[in-house]
C-alpha cells in the first residue's frame, strides 16, 4: 500500500508526470513544517495579515430563539478574504516560496479559494493562475473580478460540467505541464498525498483555537461540532483537534441540492460509491461504470462529486456523522442567521447553520454546539436574490 492512507482511503493515484512533484512537495513539507523560521513567518502572517485568532462568538439570539443548546459560531468569515481558505493558502504559498517556486496555480469553485490564493500570491510575490469552471465564473462573477484585481490570471474551464471537478482536472493538467517552477495550491483536504495531510495541518488552527476559546469561556469542551463539507477542509480543520475527544460529536453537512434522492445533489457520502479519482481513493458520485456523475448544489463551494479521504475514514469508523442539507434548508438558514444575528453567512456555511437549527432545540440548555462559520455571504447575495426570485443589479 502506498503512502498517505487513512484506513484504505487516500493514496497517490496520479500520472507519472506528477509523481516527482508530489514527492518533492512531501519532502519539502516534512522539512519546513519543523523549521523555526518557516513556522514563525507563517504564524506572523496568520496573526497580522489574516487576523487570527478568529472569534468564537456566542450566538445569544439564535440560542434563545431555538430554545435548546448554547450555540457558538467560529467566525472564519472574519478572516482576511472572508473565509477559512486563507489558513491553508498562506501555508501553501509560503511553502511554495521556500521551495523556490515562482508560480502558483489553483482550482476554485465558489471563488473563495481562488481569491485567497491570488491574495497570498500578491503578498508573497508569486505569479498566480486560477482555474474556474465556466458555470462558476457566471455564478460568482464578482470573485472572478476580485482575482483579476489581485493580479491573478483567471482561466475559464469549459470542459465537462464546467464546475469545480473540471477546474481540478484542468489545474492538474496545467501542473503536469510545468512542475518545475509551479506549485499547485490545492484548496481542500483532497487529491493525492500529501495534500490531504498538508491542508488538514494548515486548517487545524481552527479547532485548536476553538478548544482554547471554549475552555476559556465555558470551562469545558463542546458537545457537538458542526461544519459544512464539500472536499472537507473547514470541517477537518474544526474536527481534527477533537477526534481524540470521544464525547464531542462531529457532524459534517453535505450539500443535498434538491434532495439526496434526486439527480440534483452533491451529497457524496449519502449516495456515492467507493472509487479512485483526483489522486485519491474515497467516495465519489458516479454511475455503475465509474463515470463521474454531474453533481449539483446551490453552493459552488460544495458542488464537488467527491470527499476528502480522511472524512471517508471518519465516516467508515463512525467517528464523525455526515448529514445532507438541501438548498432550501440552506437558504432558510442563510436568511435566518442574517436576521437573527446580523451575520450573513456564506451559502456553504449556511448548510451547517441549517443543521444546527434542527439539532439545537432537541438538546439540553447546558449543552454546547460550535458551528464552523467557514465564510461570509457577501459573494452569495446576488445568487440568493435570484433564488428568491429577486433580480438585482450589482
Amino acid at each position: 500500500m502506498s503512502k498517505g492512507r487513512f484506513g484504505i482511503y487516500g493514496g497517490q493515484y496520479i500520472p507519472e508526470t506528477l509523481m516527482s512533484a508530489v514527492t518533492e512537495l512531501e519532502e519539502a513539507y516534512n522539512h519546513f513544517k519543523n523549521d523555526p523560521k518557516f513556522k514563525a513567518e507563517l504564524n506572523s502572517l496568520l496573526k497580522n495579515y489574516a487576523g487570527r485568532p478568529s472569534m468564537l462568538y456566542f450566538a445569544e439570539n439564535m440560542t434563545k430563539d431555538l430554545g435548546g443548546a448554547k450555540i457558538y459560531l467560529k467566525r472564519e468569515d472574519l478572516n482576511h478574504t472572508g473565509s477559512h481558505k486563507i489558513n491553508n493558502v498562506l501555508g501553501q504559498v509560503l511553502l511554495a516560496k521556500y521551495m523556490g517556486k515562482t508560480r502558483v496555480i489553483a482550482e476554485t469553485g465558489a471563488g473563495q479559494h481562488g481569491v485567497a490564493t491570488a491574495t497570498a500570491a500578491a503578498l508573497l510575490g508569486l505569479k498566480c493562475e486560477i482555474f474556474m469552471g465556466k458555470e462558476d465564473t457566471q455564478r460568482q462573477a464578482l470573485n472572478v473580478f476580485r482575482m483579476r484585481l489581485l493580479g491573478a490570471k483567471v482561466n475559464v474551464v469549459d470542459s465537462g460540467t464546467q464546475t469545480l471537478k473540471d477546474a481540478v482536472n484542468e489545474t492538474l493538467r496545467e501542473w503536469s505541464r510545468r512542475v518545475k517552477d509551479t506549485h499547485y495550491v490545492l484548496g481542500s483536504v483532497m487529491g493525492p498525498h500529501p495534500f490531504p495531510t498538508i491542508v488538514r495541518d494548515f486548517q487545524n488552527v481552527i479547532g485548536q483555537e476553538v478548544k482554547e476559546q471554549i475552555l476559556e469561556i465555558e470551562g469545558r469542551l463542546p458537545d457537538v461540532l458542526i461544519a459544512c463539507i464539500g472536499g472537507g477542509s473547514n470541517a477537518i480543520g474544526l474536527f481534527y483537534e477533537f477526534i481524540q475527544e470521544p464525547n464531542v460529536r462531529l457532524i459534517g453537512c453535505e450539500a443535498a441540492g434538491h434532495g439526496v434522492h434526486t439527480k440534483k445533489t452533491a451529497a457524496t457520502l449519502a449516495i456515492g460509491k467507493l472509487g479512485i479519482f483526483h489522486g485519491m481513493k474515497s467516495y465519489f458520485c458516479q454511475d455503475e461504470y465509474g463515470q463521474i456523475a454531474p453533481v449539483y448544489s446551490i453552493s459552488a463551494g460544495l458542488d464537488y462529486p467527491g470527499v476528502g479521504p480522511e472524512h471517508a475514514y471518519l465516516h467508515e469508523i463512525g467517528r464523525a456523522e455526515y448529514v445532507a442539507v438541501t438548498d432550501n434548508e440552506a437558504v432558510e438558514a442563510f436568511e435566518y442567521l442574517s436576521c437573527v444575528e446580523g451575520i450573513i453567512p456564506a451559502i456553504e456555511s449556511a448548510h451547517a447553520v441549517a443543521y444546527a437549527m434542527k439539532l439545537a432545540p432537541k438538546m439540553e440548555k447546558d449543552q454546547i454546539i460550535v458551528i464552523g462559520l467557514s465564510g461570509r455571504g457577501d459573494k452569495d447575495v446576488a445568487s440568493i436574490a435570484r433564488y428568491m426570485g429577486v433580480e438585482i443589479y450589482e
Binding site: 493515484y13 500520472p15 508526470t17 460509491k273 472509487g275 479519482f277
Partner: protein, 258 residues
Amino acid sequence: MNKLHKAFAKGKAFIPFITAGDPSLETTRELVLQMAEAGADLIELGIPFSDPVAEGKVIQSASIRALSHGITVDHIFSMLRDIRKTCSIPIALMTYINPIFAYGVHRFLNNCKDAGVDALIVPDLPFEEKDELMPFCLKCGVYLISMIAPTSDKRIHMIAREAQGFIYCVSSMGVTGVRKNISSDAEQMVRLVKEVNDIPCAVGFGISTPEQAARIAKFADGVIVGSAIVKIIEQYGSKCIPHVIEYVRTMKKAVKKG
C-alpha cells in the same frame, strides 16, 4: 496466450491509439481490423472516461463523444470478442483506474482475458499504486504497462526493473496532444531503462508527423500516435476510415525507416 511480444518482434513498432466508440463502435471495429492490415503492430484502444486528466483537448473530446453515445465497457468487450474471431493483432486497453475499479477489478481482468486483451495502460495508476491491478493482471495473463516521464529521473530504474511487456515513455511534460517540437528527453529515458531491463520502449505524447516518428524510431522500439489520429476521426466522422488508414501506412513507413 499473450500476443504482446509479437508487436516488437518484426522491428520498430507503430502503435496507433483510438478511442473506442468514437464516432461509433462499428467504425472502431473496422478501424482496428484495417489498421492491423495496414501495418499497425499494436493497437492502443481507449475506454472513454468522463474526466481523463492526462489527456489534452483532442482525446478529451473523443471521450465525451463516445460517452454521449452511451458506450460502456460491456459494449467494448463484446466488440473485442468479435474482433478476435478474425484478427490477432496485439491490443492494449487504455483507461483510467475508476472505470476498472467500479466494474470490479477481477471481473474486468477476466473479461480482458476472454476478449484477448494483451495489455492495460492506466495513466493514473503510478508505480506506487500498481497493486490495485497487478495481482489480477498476473492471474489473467494481461500485462500492466509502466509509464515513465521526463521528470521520472531517479524513478526510472525502479520502474523499469519491475516493468513487463513494454514501457510507455512519455516524450514530454503535460497531457496528450500534437506538438511541434518533441523534446530530446526521450532518448535519455530509453537509455536509462535499458541499463536495467532489456524491455521494448515505445515513445508517445505529441508525435504526429512522419519526420518526428522516424526520428523517435532511431532510438525507441515503438512509436505511439494518438491525438493526430483522433483528430482525423473527429474531422471525417463515420467516413474517417480511408483517411486514417492512409495516415497509418505513411507513419508505419516512417517508423520502419527509423
